[in-house]
């Protein structure tokens, strides 16, 4: 009863901070290995449809990484990251359509915008905790959604019609032409590298002294202040960092999709990404990615007869009821049990 009702308790998030440099290296190495392995995916998955799904997993994986990081290190559950994702996506469209920036420039611009959005939102929300934080992030992203729908912004956002990005026939991004950009197989490399890069950064930050600082704030904000630490800026920094990651995802998504619908900012999307993260389990770096992967896969394969939501709901309940802490949570528990068993 002393813990914040909505701050996930230790079994959901909160790594026990016994950090050894050895493990940091190991983890970093692991990520790099996965990075290299991942680059070969397009050569394994030939069929464009499946490849498209995999690409979507990676793109949505970026915001998921951010949500997971916040849950792990600040005990904050965010519904706001789809907003950064969306804001960045729209920025690409606006930059290209209105100011005919090159796609590459537009992506840069979009990441900046998305980051600024997360910074502003952060200033407003990081003081809150638990339910308050959840609702504030939700409210602010809903507000953004409503703004995107405003008819007066139609020339910019296309309101309900969404935004068609016409980069023109000579468009190019990282040396890819308009056709290649839409080909998931070719677009993959860039996305995958970004994803793994983000994962690596977040991992290192999490293990760094800054990570410890965040944990301290999560555990006992007041004592941190009485120990001479500022608690606002570190929180804000962490929040914005995850904002950058989410924005990157949104920008790349926009380039590849060529069209942005307002739903990208909607409640459903926010909910989806959070669901994905909790199914995967936020307690580990990989959890949110795995969760997102599964979620996207399910969305594609459970979607018949209009029963998508029915199945999603059932799946969600089953996972959460029987696997507290999500899939990776369950795995970790088993692992811990085994280790205990071994040590006895």
């Amino acid at each position: 009863m002393t813990t914040l009702p909505d701050a996930p308790p230790a079994d959901v998030v909160a790594p026990r901070s016994r950090r050894r440099p050895g493990r940091t290296l190991l983890g970093a190495g692991l990520i790099v290995a996965v990075l290299l392995a991942g680059l070969s995916v397009p050569y394994i998955i030939k069929d464009p449809y499946t490849m498209g799904l995999v690409l979507e997993m990676a793109l949505l994986g970026l915001p998921a990484l951010g949500i997971g990081f916040l849950a792990r290190h600040l005990g904050l559950i965010s519904l706001g990251h789809s907003a950064f994702f969306g804001a960045a996506a729209y920025s690409v469209g606006i930059a290209v359509n209105r100011w005919d920036l090159s796609l590459t420039a537009a992506v840069g611009f979009a990441v900046v915008v998305g980051t600024l959005v997360s910074l502003v939102m952060g200033v407003l929300v990081v003081r809150a905790s638990g339910m308050g934080f959840l609702m504030l992030t939700l409210a602010l992203s809903m507000a953004l959604w409503q703004l995107a729908l405003q008819t007066s912004f139609r020339p910019w956002t296309g309101a309900h019609d969404g935004l068609l990005i016409n980069a023109g026939a000579d468009a190019s991004f990282l040396g890819m032409g308009p056709r290649e950009i839409q080909d998931p197989g070719l677009f993959w490399a860039g996305v995958w590298v970004s994803l793994m890069g983000a994962a690596l950064v977040l991992w290192l930050v999490g293990r760094s002294r800054f990570g410890v600082l965040l944990e301290g704030i999560r555990e006992n904000e007041e004592r941190m202040r009485f120990s001479g630490y500022g608690t606002f800026l570190p929180r804000l920094a962490a929040f914005t960092l995850t904002g950058v990651v989410a924005s990157l995802g949104g920008a790349l998504f926009a380039v590849n999709a060529g069209y942005i619908s307002p739903d990208i900012l909607g409640f459903t999307r926010a909910g989806d990404s959070l669901i994905a993260v909790l199914i995967g389990g936020p307690a580990s770096l990989a959890g949110p990615l795995i969760g997102t992967g599964l979620f996207v896969w399910a969305q594609a394969h459970l979607n018949f007869g209009g029963n998508l939501h029915l199945f999603t709901g059932i799946a969600l309940i089953l996972v959460l009821v029987f696997l507290p802490g999500g899939l990776t949570g369950a795995v970790q528990r088993i692992a811990r049990a085994l280790r205990k068993g071994g040590s006895r």
Binding site: A10, A14, R16, E219, R225, F226, G230
Partner: protein, 233 residues
């Protein structure tokens, strides 16, 4: 002159005045006890001195400068530190991690000394929420002592400790205070302990000072006996 002093401190919670016109002066190396009945305003007093709660009037001085409106962080950075009546540690972290974290901020030259004096060596790598309550209180004290603060405000460090542990705790306070030349303010209900440890004692009652002086005279003061000590006199 004293390094840390307060005068005319008054704190109100709505209508109720928890503290009225209280003054105190802390000297380096001196342990200044503050005792008094429950609700006398001791924690409120510490809150006001440590910047947790703004006094409605009165001034707090460090080296003679008015710091009444300074932030909690500023005070800690300038050597004013406190502990809490309810144990306040970092539950999910190991003792080592959290002490090192605090030490980094307040550049503590000799963390090991604190650790060993408070007998925390063997629990260093245990997660704080899993160690016994008494030890947690020691960690709490350690956090307050890191970074060679010049002033420490301790709110009932011995609350809930077994007799001998609370004796040890007070001995730590005593030694650290003398060795490191800290000005300490000690709120404690363990009467014997207080009279044993402190050089000066202020008695609060109903939010104002009832008596101040050397332990012996305070103990002899009939008002104090009536209002606070009772059979413990």
């Amino acid at each position: 002159m004293s390094i840390f002093s307060a005068s005319g401190l008054t704190v109100r919670y709505g209508a109720l005045a928890a503290l009225t016109d209280v003054a105190i002066e802390l000297e380096p190396g001196v342990v200044h006890g503050v005792i008094g009945p429950n609700g006398a305003g001791k924690s409120t007093f510490i809150d006001a001195l440590s910047g947790r709660r703004r006094p409605s009037s009165g001034v707090v001085r460090l080296d003679g400068d008015d710091i009444t409106r300074r932030s909690v962080r500023w005070r800690r950075a300038h050597g004013v530190s406190r502990s809490f009546q309810r144990t306040s540690v970092f539950g999910s972290m190991t003792v080592r991690t959290q002490l090192e974290m605090i030490a980094r901020r307040n550049d503590e030259p000799d963390l090991d000394e604190i650790v060993s004096t408070l007998g925390l060596d063997e629990v260093q790598d245990q997660v704080c929420s899993e160690i016994a309550y008494g030890t947690q209180r020691s960690v709490d004290l350690a956090i307050a002592l890191i970074g060679r603060p010049r002033v420490v405000l301790l709110d009932e460090p011995c609350a809930g400790l077994v007799a001998d542990e609370s004796v040890r705790m007070l001995e730590h306070v005593r030694t650290l205070c003398t060795e490191r030349d800290v000005a300490a303010l000690l709120v404690e209900h363990d009467v014997e302990g207080v009279f044993r440890t402190c050089d000066v004692i202020t008695v609060l009652d109903l939010g104002s000072v009832l008596a101040t002086g050397a332990p012996a005279e305070v103990r002899a003061n009939p008002d104090v006996v009536r209002a606070y000590l009772g059979s413990a006199a």
